[in-house]
Amino acid sequence: MMSNSEIIKEKLIHKGAEASLYYGHWFNKEVFFKYRIPKKYRLEELDKKIRTMRTIIESRALITVKNFGLNVPQVYEIDTKNSIIVMKYIKGEKLKDILNSLNDNKKQEYFKKIGRDIALLHKNGHIHGDITTSNIIITQNEDIFLIDFGLHEYSDTIEDKSVDLHLFKRVLISSHGKDYEFCFKAFLEGYKSEYDKEDLNVYNMIIKNITAIETRGRYVKSEERL
């Protein structure tokens, strides 16, 4: 794919629905190659556009949000033609895979921190777009990395922020049912702590709007029904 002889793609680490992640070396640095695979079920024209756009969106987002002090992979090189992002190698595990083995204190600590990270994103007008426990990496020194910014958006609206949180809430319910209440509570505590006193009404509007999204027909809960 890349012609440069200094670049070596060595091992397929993970094959996701959208992209394949390879481990390798780039000018003697340990790196990941994130390769967005062509999807043959889509029209070529549409597919190319989606892959190129998401590669650009993700790289831009990774570079920008680093400025707020968030832990995200460092981008080294972008190849939009082949939809490849070369980024710094991070050794860690998906939160999804280790959640069950954590004690309550750790869970609370991690989810609070994640809440603060997402609040930082939101306050700066960034929407992650796909917050799941698969897209959160915990490293050996317990740093929390947010990854997979392919569905990132620039937005400062209450609606988009609420949708972002709502999607995460749904992932917790469907994949981590028994931990959901405890973890989401800790997450919201962390999220709230990033909002100053004068911004608390913004926080309240975002949270209130999650309920509004849930009551939009498809999400109505029995106890809220008349």
């Binding site: 079920y41 889509r42 989606i50 469907s174 994949s175 049912g177 027909g217």
Partner: protein
């Protein structure tokens, strides 16, 4: 419970279809009769649909009994669609079922319509634990069974896919049902006009596609630079690619080994091909529910009624109030625990 052949009468009444299915406890369908309301113009008006079903339910039931060559007295259990759907329409099914249950002194079971779609698919396709893409006029859901429920992994945030296609078809002057006509027109085009591709995590939004497609046919360029075939093709390609992407995401996430496609829109060949493609990519078995049982039908209600009855029994009459907005992930599924 001591007869040789136990039969259930299933009544589907959530939207335009009033359907009666007679199915036995082994899963053999003895008859299935649909009465489908087609509006003269516009979409489904709940009150008009209700009128139609009120006028026709009796004939539909008699026809189903006649086709199965049985008397109403041979029925051992009666099931109806209790949720979700159009309120006034759900009430007809509930009313008829309660009445028959009391007259015949047989147990009654209320069924969630969306769960019934998955259960009839599991029965007809002989599939155990699928990831299901359920696409119809009223629903767009990616679901799989996890921790005693049919969890919803992805769904539409606004319009259902079938509703979007039908609404666009209507604006384009095509008669009801619009889906098959759009499919036919799309086959005549290779041209792609860009439409909004909106995927949020595993959720989807179709309202932007609808508006943009409508603008294409209202534009001055329509029938000059492009025609209806091209818009139909672009609409299908975009909307189905979105559905396929979220299904693949859910498949990677849940690691299921079977994929089930159901609902009225499952009849679309293009969508079938796309979902089959990603199923193969993930080494999963792919099945489409046979057309007769993919759309709304009474057999699926009957079969789900049997599953529930065999596992924890029927409902008390006081528990048979309709539930127009009930989500499938609110209910535990006792027969699968």
């Amino acid at each position: 419970m001591c007869q040789i052949r136990e039969l259930v009468l299933g009544i589907e009444s959530t939207a335009h279809t009033f359907s009666v299915g007679i199915i036995d406890f082994e899963g053999k369908v003895h008859s299935l009769v649909n009465d489908i309301y087609i509006p003269e113009k516009g979409g489904l008006h709940p009150i008009l649909v209700r009128e139609n079903h009120l006028n026709n339910f009796m004939n539909t039931i008699i026809k189903a009994l006649t086709e199965a060559r049985i008397s109403i007295k041979d029925i051992n259990l009666i099931a109806f669609s209790q949720s979700p759907g159009l309120g006034p329409v759900l009430k007809i099914g509930a009313l008829v079922t309660r009445m028959l249950s009391q007259i015949l002194k047989i147990p009654i079971v209320g069924v969630n319509h969306c769960i019934a779609h998955i259960e009839i698919g599991r029965l007809m396709c002989n599939i155990k634990d699928p990831l299901t893409l359920y696409v119809s006029g009223g629903n767009t859901i990616v679901s799989a069974f996890e921790s005693s429920r049919y969890q919803i992994f992805g769904e539409t945030l606004d319009l259902a896919i079938g509703n979007m296609i039908d609404s666009f078809a209507r604006d384009a002057g095509l008669s009801h049902p619009g889906g098959p006509k759009i499919e036919e027109l799309a086959q005549k085009s290779n041209k792609y006009l860009p439409l909004p591709y909106v995927v949020k995590g595993m959720d989807l939004s179709f309202s932007g596609i609808y508006t943009a497609a409508k603008r294409f046919i209202e534009s001055e360029d329509f029938n000059k630079k492009y025609n209806l075939n091209d818009v139909a093709n672009s609409l299908q390609e975009t909307a189905f690619a979105m559905l396929t992407e979220v299904t693949e995401r859910a498949l990677a996430h849940t690691e299921k080994t079977e994929v089930l496609l159901t609902g009225g829109v499952a009849a679309n060949k293009k969508l079938q091909q796309m979902i089959e493609y990603i199923s193969k990519e993930h080494n999963a078995r792919f099945e489409v529910v046979p057309l007769k049982y993919a759309g709304d039908n009474g057999a699926m209600i009957g079969w789900t009624g049997i599953l529930r009855y065999n596992s924890i029994g029927g409902h008390d009459i006081s528990e048979t109030i309709i539930n127009p907005k009930e989500r499938m992930d609110q209910i535990t599924v006792p027969w699968r625990i």
